[in-house]
Symmetry: C2
Subunit: 513 residues, 2 copies
């Protein structure tokens, strides 16, 4: 933790990536606000995800309500299972998460232990209230969904959804019909979910309101093969299986996804495929494969609906291994549960006339965590200056546009250049305040890959300088060629040096004013 | 109402635009689900709005939580004012909205009347419970926000926001700082809002959970001019002012925005500017200016924060005039209220050292209503077939790709064509089922502007036919030129006939199978 986290948080709130919500009223744990840069970064990551997980496969994206009536979550099992053990102080009334308190007080992992084990540990460990040292009540469970009532008479109890997945199960039949009955069917959703976390913490990593990106892939368990699997079969990933963890292994093994699938370590081809895509996607956010791993959930750790779950974790300097996605094999759990509770038939007919309940594999991503992880992974310090070396595809602003000085007609030309870039759908910002060196520094800290400067030579020959955020090198190019060339650079089709002839390195000489 | 509405709703739910949520559990009023086509259409409208209202001006977009602690809405006045009068039955307990019930029973407009007037009308009109004919209690007010409690001890009362605007006021100081102190400052937000409507109805028009797109424009009341106003000054719009309504006028007057602003009918230039943009934007959704008007709110009709409000209304065959946007002059109401309640200084310093509280103009759009309005306005019936003549820029799918027949290698080529279009970021769908005529019909009903067909000639010369959704005409073009040409067509740069030499009109001959 410590230094890196503090630095990211400081840059984020000062520059407008994100900051704690409701600041003027003293804040409220677990709620964050995205600013101009953060909103763009978040949307860029979402769009990239949609391209990779949804669009390429022709999956159908849906949008289902956040508030659901209680019968949805009774059927899904959330009312029963989406709970945490809490310990309440008999004296001051403070409520603590049992697992956190035990971990802090006794230093042992306590994520998956049950009520009687908690009771024993509290008693034997002599754990008392961390605030007032009062005695603790017996462990109780707390439903971590936000509850509300719907209608003028409060006739329906509603909950804010803690995951987006139920929307895909509730609407499965209608969506299958719209897709004209064909399985496999991928249904995707990106949207807000809410969890009444007892102990929100670590900024964007544990929020009460956050954005989730999910695919539910419905397939026939008798025909479980994934047509895209060949694309990832030879990809090598780091896996820490259930069984390895059971043996006390702490280091993952590297193996290909094909091997993991054929050995049954990953139980379905679809899940192995999505794990491969997931690794590629996270790499595109600037986190290399060497800092990623898949950790299998132990049986007692798995959600109530899952037959197999892998957490996709990334290594962050601040917090160590952090889960950014979950890959769950939900089998027919949810469709069967809704069929039971609603009386609506959820089965599908095969060509041979037999009926079956589709099985489901789910890759699920926490978008806010990805925003944080991408930001932290991008942080570089060079000559005492902060640089966010974000991949160009997700950088909030693609090009800064500066007049060398704010006089002699340079601002007018620079504004014209910016308009031209905006018209070409290139997110750009104009800045004329302070020295050019300071402006480069500001641009680097916003993660902007390129800075275009209009100088006196521009007035003579219509060329500008283009500066690279990461190398601080500069090239010169004609204004009219900027949009096309810059787009090709951002897509990774050409290198920076191909943007134009070198204009020398003029960095660092003008940071004084 | 009636026929058109039923038709739109039928197409929407069958084809996957939208349908009532929680169907398998009998539904829940005021909640709708978007499917594959609807999610795309909705996002396309959102993106167009963002381009026109946010990006062009360099405004800052933010994302603030949906759940807010109660003190936010105490300060904003919502806890006090965001209420409806209700009438509860003493016998069966049914709760009705007072204004709806009076309108239905007595046929008089009752939107803005107060409790004592309601009491009088109920008594004199002999209004009783519409369900059981029981006697009604005295009118009471009902807070139409969803309430919840936050934290394990329920220590904070929270509400789901009924508008996105408070996010911009709460974060104004920080955003102003990030924008380096410059006014005018535009802050935008697109997001979910929730209202516990007593009587949700008319599908997407009155939802309990919906998406709002808002700009709060902060300016110095001593410097109220809008730098973009020239762009709309000569634009003529239809306005029904407060004063005209006071005189009983029912027909709006057409005048330029310049005239309306200089006469003081629209009190600020910024508001007049946004009203002009608003009309342009709605036109781009396929609703011509002649079906739009701006209706000024009467004082008793205005929200508690507003000094002047114009509803932007569009004429729908189904429902008559329907509000799709609101343009409110919120003055310094909100910033002053939050300053009072939080103790945080919300003033800004002028160059001369004097301080002031910025004034705010707000254009606010209901995205779900726009989706419905655009769909209804696009509906055409031709030879008994439904066509959604959506503007290409917002159509969910841009190009359908068909093999003429599903054999002889045509499907393989067609899939390759589709891949090429997808790679060029052109939303496209492949379909090989049923006759080509049926597939054209399906494509038209999905609002897809173009259909590309791979036929036997394709195998010889690499050309395909391109068919126009609206005229059913066809041209031929080489596969490799499709992406560039189609993009130009979708942007409105070239006409359909410029997509290639005519290939004749082959419509209607093959609808049999």
């Amino acid at each position: 933790m410590g230094e890196v986290y503090e630095k990211v948080i400081e840059i984020a709130s000062r520059r407008g990536f994100f900051w704690p919500s409701f600041e003027i009223y003293g804040g409220l744990g677990g709620f964050y606000t995205y600013g101009n840069l953060g909103t763009r970064l978040k949307r860029n990551i979402e769009d990239l995800w949609r391209e990779i997980f949804v669009r390429r496969h022709g999956f159908h994206e849906i949008e289902d309500p956040i508030i659901n009536p209680s019968r949805v979550f009774e059927a899904s099992g959330h009312i029963q299972h989406f709970r945490e053990y809490v310990l309440e102080c008999t004296r001051c009334g403070r409520v603590s998460r049992a697992d956190h308190l035990i971990e802090e007080e006794l230093g042992i992992p306590a994520q998956s232990i049950d009520g009687s084990e908690i009771e024993r540990l509290v008693r034997e460990g002599g754990i008392r209230c961390p605030d007032c040292d009062g005695e603790l009540k017996d462990p109780a469970t707390f439903l971590t969904m936000f509850q509300t009532s719907i209608g003028a008479r409060g006739e329906d109890v509603g909950y804010a959804r803690p995951e987006a997945a139920q929307g895909m199960f509730l609407n499965f039949r209608r969506c299958l019909q719209q897709a004209r009955g064909a399985l496999p069917l991928g249904l995707a959703q990106v949207g807000k979910v809410l969890r009444n976390e007892i102990a929100p913490r670590r900024g964007l990593l544990r929020l009460r309101e956050f954005t989730i990106m999910e695919v539910e892939l419905f397939f026939d368990p008798q025909n479980p093969s994934c047509p895209w699997f060949e694309k990832v079969r030879d990809k090598e990933v780091a896996i820490l299986t259930e069984e390895m963890q059971g043996r006390g292994e702490r280091n993952p093994v590297r193996m290909t996804l094909g091997e993991a699938a054929s050995k049954g370590l990953i139980r379905t081809e679809w899940q192995a495929y999505f794990m491969g895509l997931s690794e590629e996607f996270i790499e595109m956010l600037g986190i290399p494969g060497g800092r990623q791993r898949f950790r299998g959930h132990l049986p007692e750790e798995r959600a109530h609906y899952s037959a197999q779950t892998f957490d996709h974790e990334v290594y962050l300097e601040s917090w160590g291994w952090v889960e950014v996605a979950g890959h769950a094999y939900r089998t027919d759990y949810d469709l069967s549960a809704h069929q039971r509770h609603s009386g609506v038939d959820m089965t599908v007919m095969r060509g041979d006339g037999t009926r079956f309940t589709p099985h489901v594999v789910e890759p699920s991503f926490g978008l806010d965590r990805l925003v944080y992880a991408a930001l932290e992974a991008s942080l570089r310090i060079r000559e005492g200056r902060n640089i966010l070396a974000l991949p160009p595809s997700i950088a909030p602003i693609k090009v800064s546009v500066f007049p060398l000085v704010a006089k002699d007609g340079l601002p007018e030309v620079a504004r014209e250049v910016q308009r031209r870039l905006l018209d070409s759908q290139l997110a750009s910002e104009y800045d004329e305040r302070g020295s050019i060196g300071r402006r480069y520094a500001r641009s680097d800290e916003a993660g902007t890959p390129l800075a275009v400067t209009v100088d006196y030579q521009t007035l003579k020959d219509g060329t500008v300088t283009i500066r690279d955020r990461d190398s601080w090198r500069q090239v010169r190019q004609r204004i009219e060629d900027l949009p096309t060339l810059i787009k090709r650079y951002l897509r990774g089709e050409i290198a920076f040096s191909e943007l134009g002839p070198s204009a020398g390195d003029v960095e660092g000489r003008d940071l004084s004013c």
